[in-house]
Amino acid sequence: MTETKKEETISAELLAQFPFLDGQVKIQRARRLWLETPADQFDAVFERLVDGFGFRILCAITGLDEGENFAFIYHLAKEDGTVAGLKVKILKTNSKWKSVGAKFPGGIIYEREIADLLGVQFEGLPPGPRYPLPDGWPEGQYPLRKDWQPADGTEERKSGQ
């Protein structure tokens, strides 16, 4: 398939440098690439994608609750329209992950969102106001976690707050 030639080149070069990615790179269609990296190799793969292949646009960071793990997908795009979805998983019991704010200052707000909604601490995230939950939001309530259910408001109605 010539349609996905560029994506195949990227995939082959990645595998040559990072053999542990074998079976973890998926070409979905032209301009769409997905890959998953072990957490301890994240920095190297992230740097190779951004500085090596030119995926210099951070479109978004998706945070996912996958039961035992939290997963993050860095949606990185190139000027030619190719988007790589770089996935990484961490254990829920150790909900700490690193910030990419130094490289992508625009990404800080995306990390704050994941921190607020999933309850993940991003190391290296500069101090600043929370986003997007209100200041009086109760501690330990993370709405995007799968086991989180919104309260029906009965208690608040009764107490008239």
């Binding site: 998706t62 979805g85 200052p105 939950l133 608040e156």
Partner: protein
């Protein structure tokens, strides 16, 4: 000179939507700006997980009241990709057509707001009058002025008739004439140029570093447009130019938007001329097979992205939305630095911010009797006074003094 910190927002006459900026001033100049977002958080991403795909199409359409079609298209594109659905060509042309008509109404709306923010209200009156042409066209095609409800998974819900195609053609001709006049205003009107130039400067390097998107980025020479770089819907069939400018200020952002309007008229004409015949939808199953997709859409304010993960059921596992304003807000605090306080309204307006998009996700507190969701004005006022009293802001003594003064007169 002494330094002072002032808050602007979340409720402020200069803001159209809630956001809070903390500005550190030295005299009239801003030397540092910070912001707090989230006042429009409605929990839409979580709500998407609890609803079916079809319900979600209508929910995500309500992420925004201006670029509603952008969100529904980005969402259905992702779902269609997971389900492996190839929508009929006519459906993809109709989606593109509505998308470009939406861009016209959004850019004309912006031009009016920008005029208003700098005291040029004639421009507001003119552009908003002209904008009614495209609003009427959209209402005629879809049944609504905003929240068109035209997208569905597998195509579009309404066809465009030959009569409507003729009407759109006439409307576009009229709008093009008016836009030529606005371009003349933007490039020749000395007071407008002087008012907008060098205001809200964002260098190309900062725009790239902070990830500015859409007209905000393109006015700082960031040559990116998803319609060209990562074509979706019918954009691969269209001939158009991406408008890029290197003024890097509010003036540049104005030029980019009026320039884009002219490109859009050309694109609408091509769409009308080349519109293929055939069906407008293919049947989609209620259950979407497991998988994931990432969809990009060039909304009027910039790149809008949706990520959808399906788990084989009729409800998505995860829906992630990143609206263009969120990508542009980091740049706003940069744009404010070294500018005058009086320029703040136009600097904010110049990114064409949309906070309901940005925050998406509402905490509605019920008050009063059981089951009574509405709050009486008196109750709301009392609640507000008590809320502030709890936090140390008590105006009861001042109110008493005022009442005494009133009595004395």
């Amino acid at each position: 000179m002494s330094r002072i910190k002032i808050p602007i927002g979340p409720q402020h006459p200069a803001l159209k939507e809630p956001v809070n900026f903390q500005l550190a001033l030295e005299g009239e100049k801003i030397y540092e700006a910070g912001m707090r977002l989230g006042y429009n958080h409605r929990g839409i991403e979580k709500a998407c997980e609890q609803r079916t795909y079809i319900q979600d199409v209508y929910l995500v359409e309500r992420v925004c009241g201006i670029c509603s079609h952008s969100h529904s298209t980005a969402f259905v594109q992702a779902v269609e990709e997971i389900a492996g659905l190839q929508i009929p060509p006519r459906a993809s042309y109709i989606r593109t057509l509505i998308g470009e008509l939406e861009r016209i109404h959004s850019h004309l709306l912006w031009l009016g707001v920008a005029g208003h923010e700098v005291g040029f209200d004639t421009l507001l009156m003119y552009t908003w009058r002209d904008r009614e042409i495209v609003m009427d066209l959209l209402a005629d095609i879809t049944g609504n002025r905003v929240n068109y409800g035209i997208n569905t998974i597998g195509g579009v819900r309404r066809d465009v008739s030959a009569g409507q195609i003729a009407d759109i053609g006439k409307g576009i001709d009229a709008l093009e004439e008016r836009t030529k006049y606005y371009i003349q205003v933007a490039t020749e009107e000395a007071t407008l140029i002087a008012r907008l130039s060098k205001v809200g400067y964002l260098s190309n390097a900062d725009a790239l570093r902070l990830g500015a998107v859409g007209p905000t980025g393109r006015a700082s020479a960031v040559d990116r447009d998803v319609r060209r770089d990562d074509p979706y819907a019918a954009y691969a069939d269209l001939d158009f130019k991406v408008i890029v400018d290197n003024h890097c200020d509010v003036y540049g952002r104005t030029l980019v938007r009026v320039g884009e309007l002219m490109q859009t008229y050309g694109m609408v004409r091509q769409l009308l001329k080349q519109m293929p015949e055939g069906p407008i939808t293919i049947k989609a199953a209620r259950k979407i097979p497991s998988g994931e997709a990432f969809s990009r859409y060039e909304a009027p304010r910039g790149e809008d992205v949706h990520y959808v993960r399906a788990n084989g059921s009729e409800k998505p596992e995860r829906v992630k939305i990143r609206a263009p304003t969120l990508a542009n807000l980091s740049s706003v605090t940069k744009m404010m630095e070294d500018n005058y306080l009086a320029d703040v309204p136009i600097i904010i307006a110049a990114i064409d911010p949309c906070f309901s998009c940005t925050d998406r996700a509402l905490v509605l507190k019920d008050s009063g009797k059981d089951g009574d969701r509405a709050m009486e004005w008196g109750a709301l006022r009392k609640y507000g006074i008590e809320w502030h009293q709890k936090r140390g802001l008590d105006f009861s003594a001042a109110n008493k003094r005022l009442a005494k003064l009133m009595e004395a007169h």
